[in-house]
């Protein structure tokens, strides 16, 4: 049986960076398994610019960002298997995959990095009244049709959900000649980056209806009208506030979920993010199995995906070389106002200089402090003018700040 030092599952931005980092840290037998016919993952359909400002100090498009990493593979011994789908992995790191050329294959790995990305929440996953009509699809799918296949899915469009993909698609479809009549968001605030509200909606005078949702979709076979309605704090309809739009397409941008079938089947400990519970090297509860990128928690910026994946690649290389220490884990706790923190635990002996904690807040905050504490001792307190659930926050702590640390919690202090 073929045996690799690291097998990376998924060839998106996370998988590419993880594999390159494992290689740069001294491993040679590395394989990337990717189900699509090309590397790059979701970046291939994100043709807008806005990627890489932190890693390259440039505003690249998604494919350009991916290309920088794909080009780097040329001078390495990293092997690639495209059009190959991993169906199962075992605790002893046996990997089962299949493709048209080789059929069903079984290989072994010393370590595995899961970088399988995320999936979109679908009409089935959210409640929508009305008939099951054609003309309702997710924003990512609409993006794929337009940017990869060159096919515009509708001419008169309404968008449910203000996630970034929905906003990006509002602009993209408008530029290609569609009329986008509006975006409805059930929360009283937008779920997309502020700059996307500005450059995707305001630039084209597309209205954003906050605290609104789609109440009904009408049509025979195909979408003909959507009815939106305002909601109160408990998300109940405020009757009488309905507005009707004549459209041929309803696009859903209602959230992303880490995609982890394979990990879940394996019995890895999972967290509230729907990703695995990981430590400072992004190692899961099964030794030698790592997770990073959108498969671990949904990121809004690719730059942080790359950094996270590089750490996972470094972790895997240390695991293979037997360099990871088995110290005591300190848990990270999310308290008031914090939705989750990644990593969920860390071992001080395995941290070189510093460790980055990533988290999201539960709701928008203004003029607050982020408090990081070890019991009663304040390790760090950071003032923030704005905090939004749609923007992932990160804070790095160095080893001296963590000296003698027994526990770690992150919370929001309001005045």
């Amino acid at each position: 049986m073929q045996e690799y030092e690291v097998v990376v599952i998924g060839g998106g931005s996370a998988g590419l960076a993880a594999a390159l980092s494992a290689y740069e840290n001294g491993l040679n037998k590395i394989l990337i398994i990717e189900k699509n016919s090309s590397l790059g993952g979701i970046l291939n359909q994100c043709i807008h610019t806005g990627f890489g400002i932190h890693v390259f100090n440039e505003q690249l498009s998604g494919p350009e960002y991916a290309q920088r990493f794909i080009d780097k593979l040329d001078n390495t011994s990293i092997e690639i298997k495209l059009n190959s789908y991993v169906t199962k992995i075992d605790k002893d790191k046996t990997i089962y995959y299949s493709n048209d050329a080789e059929g069903f294959q079984v290989i072994k790995a010393k370590s595995i990095i899961m970088a399988t990305g995320c999936i979109e929440r679908t009409p089935g996953a959210i409640k929508l009244e009305g008939e099951r009509l054609s003309g309702i699809l997710t924003a990512g799918l609409a993006q794929r049709y337009l940017n990869i296949e060159g096919y515009l899915v509708g001419k008169k469009v309404f968008i449910l959900g203000s996630g970034d993909i929905g906003l990006i698609m509002a602009r993209r479809m408008t530029l290609e000649g569609a009329k986008v009549l509006g975006v409805a968001e059930i929360m009283p605030y937008s779920n997309g980056l502020r700059r996307n509200i500005a450059q995707c909606l305001e630039d084209f005078n597309i209205p954003l209806y906050l605290s609104h949702t789609v109440k009904e979709v009408k049509g025979k076979d195909h979408v003909e009208q959507v009815v939106i309605c305002q909601v109160d704090e408990n998300k109940n309809y405020i009757l009488g506030s309905e507005k009707t739009f004549d459209v041929d397409t309803l696009i859903l941008s209602v959230g992303l979920l880490p995609y982890n079938n394979v990990l879940e089947d394996l019995g890895v400990q999972m967290s509230s993010t729907k990703g695995a519970v990981v430590d400072e090297n992004y190692q899961t509860s099964i030794e030698g199995i790592f997770a990073c990128g959108n498969a671990l928690h949904v990121h809004d910026l690719v730059d942080y995906v790359t950094k996270e994946a590089m750490q996972a690649g470094l972790g895997a290389s240390r695991y293979v070389k037997g360099l990871l220490k088995h110290g005591k884990y300190i848990e990270t706790k999310n308290k008031n106002g914090i939705n989750y923190v990644v990593p969920q635990k860390f071992c001080l002996q395995n941290i070189d200089k510093e460790i980055m904690f990533k988290f999201r807040v539960t709701k928008p905050f203004q003029n607050v402090k982020i408090l990081i504490q070890d019991g009663d001792r304040t390790i760090k307190s950071i003032k923030k003018m704005f905090l939004l659930p749609s923007e992932m926050e990160n804070i790095s702590l160095n080893l001296s700040e963590l000296k003698d640390c027994k526990s770690l919690s992150i919370e929001i202090m309001e005045d």
Binding site: S61, P63, E64, G150, L175, L193
Partner: protein, 114 residues
């Protein structure tokens, strides 16, 4: 006085520009330039795709090499409808020089070898 959201990076600073063209609320120098451009001649990078003859894909993603006047956005997109090229293309290749007299080149943003 005008309030703007800076689009130069994901931070999205809330900018204010007053009648004497003084910019406040910007975290870095990019915000200053953005606000000044925004009230005189707003500019955007245009991204789209064009037809490509290739064994791998049917569309090639492209962008303008720099932000172009917002007024030209739709003109450029219309123009792209009738452009077709052939693989191989390298990421960064110039497809059209000074597209629609915008001052920017149209460049490929993906490498398509076959």
């Amino acid at each position: 006085m005008k309030n703007l959201t800076c689009i130069e990076c994901p931070r999205g600073c809330n900018l204010t520009i007053d009648d004497n063209l003084k910019v406040t609320g910007n975290f870095c120098i990019r915000g200053q330039k953005y606000a000044l451009d925004e009230i005189s001649n707003p500019k955007r990078v245009v991204t789209s795709t064009i037809k490509i003859k290739s064994l791998e894909v049917v569309r090639l993603p492209v962008k303008t090499s720099m932000p172009i006047s917002k007024k030209l956005m739709f003109t450029i997109l219309k123009y792209l409808d009738n452009i077709q090229i052939e693989a191989p293309i390298k990421c960064g290749d110039v497809i059209i020089k000074n597209i629609c007299d915008s001052g920017a080149n149209l460049i490929a943003t993906r490498t398509i070898l076959k």
